[in-house]
């Protein structure tokens, strides 16, 4: 399988402060790849290095087999980028900005501009300054896709979009993907990553913790449980294999569990509970798990 992005020991320090350390992963041609981690973990630093906005301290990254720093303009012809926060020149109309954007690519993008903005329900004749955050984001989306890029890089793409528009946007991304575009998206919202991505890389404190397919992450299937007990039990009642991050507060027991759920239900059979919750743990919690594993 061909790799569209190859990142090899990419490291970036801001002075003495860590940005990212030895980040390595590959993104295959035609896949939707998720890049997840909490804020400040290094997602944006990695993406900004790929886009040659910042320079790596060491290591390298290749896009389409070309060095991402040396061949940045060449690579950019085939890349569409949507930043997490979108700001555009003062006093411009949406259509002017999109035309300016299109003028950088040596092809006619007017049809795409039209169809994309219709899809996203974007008024081309409004001034960008007057748009709401979500509508500005739409300008960013159209701007990032108008030249039919082979690689789409998205940094926190859905913040600010209402659920309906998110849906449209995800459908759009899936169509782009079917057209042949490879997609790299960073996010801290696990559900959207699970919905779209085939594989993910998890980053924490500037280091890649794991690179895995969504399918196998799901196999590992973490659940967060919380019980309020009626029957008095010992604090280590739930301390069985697969339980992590066990917290006991009076008769309230909470933990993250990975493994055969029947293990837990069997434990419950002999006792009485007042209430129980079973959730997908949020990313932060899965993260904590990976984090404690490393220590």
């Amino acid at each position: 399988m061909k790799n569209v992005i190859e990142i090899n020991k990419l490291t970036k320090y801001y002075g003495h402060n860590r940005g990212i350390t030895d980040v390595s992963f590959d993104v295959h041609e035609g896949e939707i790849f998720g890049f997840i981690g909490p804020n400040g973990a290094g997602k944006s630093t990695t993406i900004r290095t790929l886009l040659a906005l910042i320079y790596p301290t060491s290591g390298e990254a290749k896009i389409f087999g070309l060095d991402c720093i040396k061949s940045a303009p060449e690579i950019a012809k085939r890349v569409g980028y949507l930043p997490s926060e979108v700001f555009y020149y003062d006093g411009m109309k949406v259509i002017d900005l999109l035309k300016y954007s299109a003028s950088f690519y040596k092809k006619d993008c007017s049809e795409r501009i039209k169809s994309l903005s219709e899809r996203m329900n974007l008024d081309l004749n409004k001034k960008i300054d007057d748009l709401s955050f979500g509508n500005k984001k739409k300008v960013g989306i159209v701007q990032g896709l108008l030249h039919s890029p082979d690689l789409i890089i998205l940094d926190e793409p859905t913040s600010g979009l209402d659920p309906l528009m998110q849906q449209t946007f995800f459908n759009l991304l899936e169509e782009e993907n079917k057209r042949g575009a490879t997609i790299l998206m960073s996010s801290h919202v696990l559900s959207e990553v699970q919905r779209l991505c085939g594989r993910v890389a998890i980053i924490k404190d500037g280091k890649i913790v794991t690179v895995d397919s969504i399918a196998s992450l799901k196999e590992e299937s973490y659940k967060r449980f919380k019980f309020i007990m009626k029957t008095e039990v010992t604090p280590d009642f739930f301390n069985v294999t697969g339980v992590n991050d066990l917290k006991v507060d009076g008769n309230e027991h909470s933990f993250i569990f990975k493994g055969d759920i029947n293990l837990i239900t069997e434990k419950l059979s002999g006792i009485k509970i007042i209430n129980m919750w079973a959730d997908e743990p949020d990313l932060e919690e899965i993260f904590m798990h990976y984090y404690s594993k490393g220590e």
């Binding site: 944006s44 886009l51 906005l53 320079y55 303009p73 997490s84 926060e85 020149y89 300016y100 950088f104």
Partner: protein, 264 residues
């Protein structure tokens, strides 16, 4: 070329305001000349009572008020001050605005090299200066030729050529500064500060005895009274000017090429 066109478009309004204001203010000042000329005897007497240092500081030479071009040379000091502010503003602002207004991500992730970005912006600024100077020169010359008894086209053009040099010099210095600084929140305070510092240096600290010091302020590279007298530009100043501009601009290219563009 699209960046160049875009820059011209976005700078057009401010260019128009500058060139119109400057032209009208200069015409207004020049309109006083016939009046002063008529009572030149009293006027010279009064000026001779001035402290010589003050006279120097205000750019008044003995010949200043006796001829129209001499008077223009006097007005020119303040014209050049204004033009220098415009140039410094543009120099500090034209590149840094992308990061200040957070559009740098947009521009740099487009298929253009940073070299092209810098070159387009330099070219746009140069176009603005040339357009400003040409329009200003034509408008002002119409009036100057009306009030002047002799043909002053050559010294007039030389003086205005030195204006272009001052603009380019201020612009280059500003451009260089903008690539050194990590973040510029507001352009105007910085550019005003620097230009007024240069102006003060040229007015109060530099005199003819000091041959090197004059290169520390863009305003003192070319002395208008001297241009009128010699009818030529000081060649050493031209060489130093070129050297400073080349150093500033090449350094800017290198610095911007290596620059880390951070998100906010």
């Amino acid at each position: 070329m699209n960046i160049y066109r875009f820059e011209l478009k976005s700078n057009f309004k401010s260019f128009l305001v500058w060139v119109l204001c400057l032209s009208f203010v200069t015409i207004g000042y020049m309109a006083f000349f016939p009046m002063i000329h008529d009572s030149i005897g009293d006027f010279t007497k009064m000026l001779n009572n001035f402290n010589p240092i003050l006279k120097d500081a205000m750019g008044i030479a003995t010949s200043t008020f006796s001829t129209a071009i001499g008077f223009y040379g006097f007005v020119f000091i303040y014209v050049s001050l204004m033009m220098a502010i415009q140039a410094m503003n543009l120099g500090i602002g034209i590149l840094s605005k992308e990061e200040r207004e957070r559009t740098a991500d947009f521009l740099i992730t487009k298929p253009v090299s940073r070299i092209t970005i810098v070159s387009s912006k330099l070219l746009a600024a140069l176009t603005v200066f040339l357009a400003t100077d040409i329009i200003f020169s034509i408008v002002t010359y119409i009036q100057l030729s009306n009030i002047s008894d002799e043909n002053v086209l050559k010294p007039y053009l030389l003086i205005n050529l030195s204006l272009l040099f001052i603009q380019i010099l201020c612009f280059s210095i500003g451009f260089f500064i903008s690539t050194i600084l990590k973040k510029i929140r507001a352009v105007l305070p910085i550019s005003l500060g620097i230009v007024f510092a240069f102006f003060a240096i040229s007015r109060f600290l530099i005199n003819d005895d000091n041959k090197v010091a004059k290169y520390f302020s863009p305003f003192s590279y070319f002395d208008t009274n001297k241009i009128i007298k010699d009818n030529t530009l000081d060649i050493t100043s031209v060489v130093v000017f070129a050297a400073v501009v080349i150093v500033c601009i090449s350094a800017s290219y290198v610095l911007y090429h290596r620059r880390n563009v951070h998100s906010v």
